[in-house]
Symmetry: C2
Subunit: 331 residues, 2 copies
């Protein structure tokens, strides 16, 4: 398996990303293609150990407008990465770059699975009882039809990749009653309740930390707000616990017997442990890594790319939603 | 000052609500009118100590459709409460009832301050560094104009009621750049940046626990999701800290030196400490208490009703946005 890694995007370019990729190559027995400026990547080339490099000359920044970035930065690391997957020179792409640009490039050049109207980010949310959120930030405005497809993709992902039987699918809303929510939420509710999904209705955000569902369906704006708030509150929690123990000599001593469980908790809620999220609905495996990924984050994003590719989930999507024609075009 | 309290709405009717109201009457030197079924309220009547009762025969439930509830339940505790304020028999109303119904009844019967297009819930969010969120759940879909009015109301509230000088006003969005957000977010950004407000642009939800702004502006759907998630994560945090110390005899001993700061933290993040939130923009003081308010929550909601009424903030809104005509009608 060959996984392409965009080392020029995100906050920690290129060393941290390359380091994570090299570790992943060693541990997971896969080949890696590092994509980036010649100066940045050539020194890592090591064909014996499965590390090759492809150079690029441009970088898509977080400020770039997605569509113009794809048109105007043909030789960006992100675009080159997408093209490697398109040409079959890599099985999957991992990029910590501009979400909108990655989504647009992937949707346009790799196409979506036939029948899927919008690709979505499917993030496993790092909480005590994790769940998959679809969409975590790709689609700012959605139709009810999109939400329903997100529900089906999320449920398939939970079942086939995460191994959850009969995953409980819920809509994120401002109340549990069917009458609550945005107009699209209500419309999607009416459709989802009559499908074969294990649809449990609306859930309120206050229940999210307590394992209220396995698949959480929402538009990308709301999802992004909820996801980042969980991250922020996790960080706040971690800092608060630290400050409780840092007060004086007695509290410092009190830390010792609690140390292990605090470390376990911190690890569980560390978004670097997931590393990234697949673009569900794109016809080839593309993993969006966190923009602030360090070596550990990239390492785990590559692990996810491997699992995602091996799981055959894209074939499941094709079975469910339709088929990409033999030549890669949609019907 | 006379504060009307709806004891029939919410999860803890009527005893807890009445108990909170009686305590508030004693501590704050105010008069209370308890509104509810005869059986529920008559035993609390105590004119010497400023407790009077008004009976009602109906209850608006959480499931009721707001507009039909107002039309069909003329004699509900909620509607009677609104009418008491309308007729000048009470200075303010506190109700833990159906948000939509309370908002509709208040907007229609008490009217909005002239010039204000939509009333909004202004909640002080219980975090280490609190901020006021407008709108926390009243308006599911909004126009940019509404968001801008929420910003002005929130800023006035922060300044005049919370005592924050030059409050930092921000829009909740999925990125800090001006290009990020829902179409209404972007439109509101363009308007707000040229006002006299201390507008600091967009903030991401992950920064909310760290004092990134004093006034957070958003639509009621997003606000509601964010608010309840903060509450849920707070509860999760509290449970997690508890479980860390409950493991064995050593961790139980370790709890002792940490006890005080944990209690302080729990109190700070307890939504009952705020008790409720005013319906900003309504021409008379109405406080929406939490649906699950207990005696302490109601007690604090009544304190807020008193502060809100005394602050003269509604006069400030009138100065800023226009004036209700002498006879109570809009122009």
């Amino acid at each position: 398996m060959i996984i392409a890694v965009d080392v020029m995007s995100g906050d920690n370019t290129p060393e941290e990303i390359a380091k994570g990729a090299l570790n992943a190559a060693k541990d997971f027995g896969i080949n890696i293609v590092l994509i980036g400026d010649k100066d940045a990547v050539s020194r890592y080339e090591d064909k014996e150990n499965g590390i090759s490099v492809v150079t690029s000359t441009q970088v898509v920044t977080m400020e770039d407008d997605p569509l113009s970035a794809i048109k105007e930065k043909e030789d960006s690391s992100l675009a080159v990465g997408v093209n490697l997957v398109r040409m079959g020179k890599a099985d999957a792409l991992v990029s910590p770059g501009n979400t909108g640009a990655l989504l647009s490039a992937a949707s346009i050049r790799l196409r979506r699975v036939k029948g899927i109207r919008r690709a979505a980010i499917g993030t496993v949310v790092p909480l005590d009882k994790p769940f998959i959120m679809v969409d975590a930030g790709a689609n700012i405005d959605v139709l009810a039809e999109n939400l329903c497809q997100f529900a089906f993709m999320g449920a398939l992902y939970a079942e086939k990749v995460l191994g959850v039987k009969k995953p409980r699918v819920a809509l994120l809303s401002n109340g549990t009653e069917q009458t609550k929510g945005l107009p699209v939420t209500k419309e999607a509710y009416a459709v989802l309740k009559d499908t074969e999904l294990n649809f449990i209705g609306n859930v309120e955000s206050r229940e999210l930390p307590f394992g209220c569902c396995d698949v959480l369906v929402c538009d990308g704006f709301t999802g992004n707000i909820a996801l980042k708030l969980i991250e922020g509150m996790g960080k706040f929690m971690s800092q608060t616990i630290k400050s409780i123990f840092k007060q004086n000599i007695f509290t410092k001593l009190a830390y010792l017997p609690c140390k292990n469980s605090i470390k376990k908790l911190r690890k569980k809620m560390d978004s670097r442990q997931t590393g990234g999220a697949p673009l569900l609905g794109v016809a080839k495996p593309v993993i969006k890594a966190h923009g602030n990924s360090d070596a550990l984050g990239i390492y785990n994003a590559i692990r996810l790319a491997k699992t995602y590719t091996e799981s055959g989930i894209i074939k499941e999507f094709e079975k469910k939603f339709g088929r990409v024609n033999g030549d890669g075009t949609e019907e």
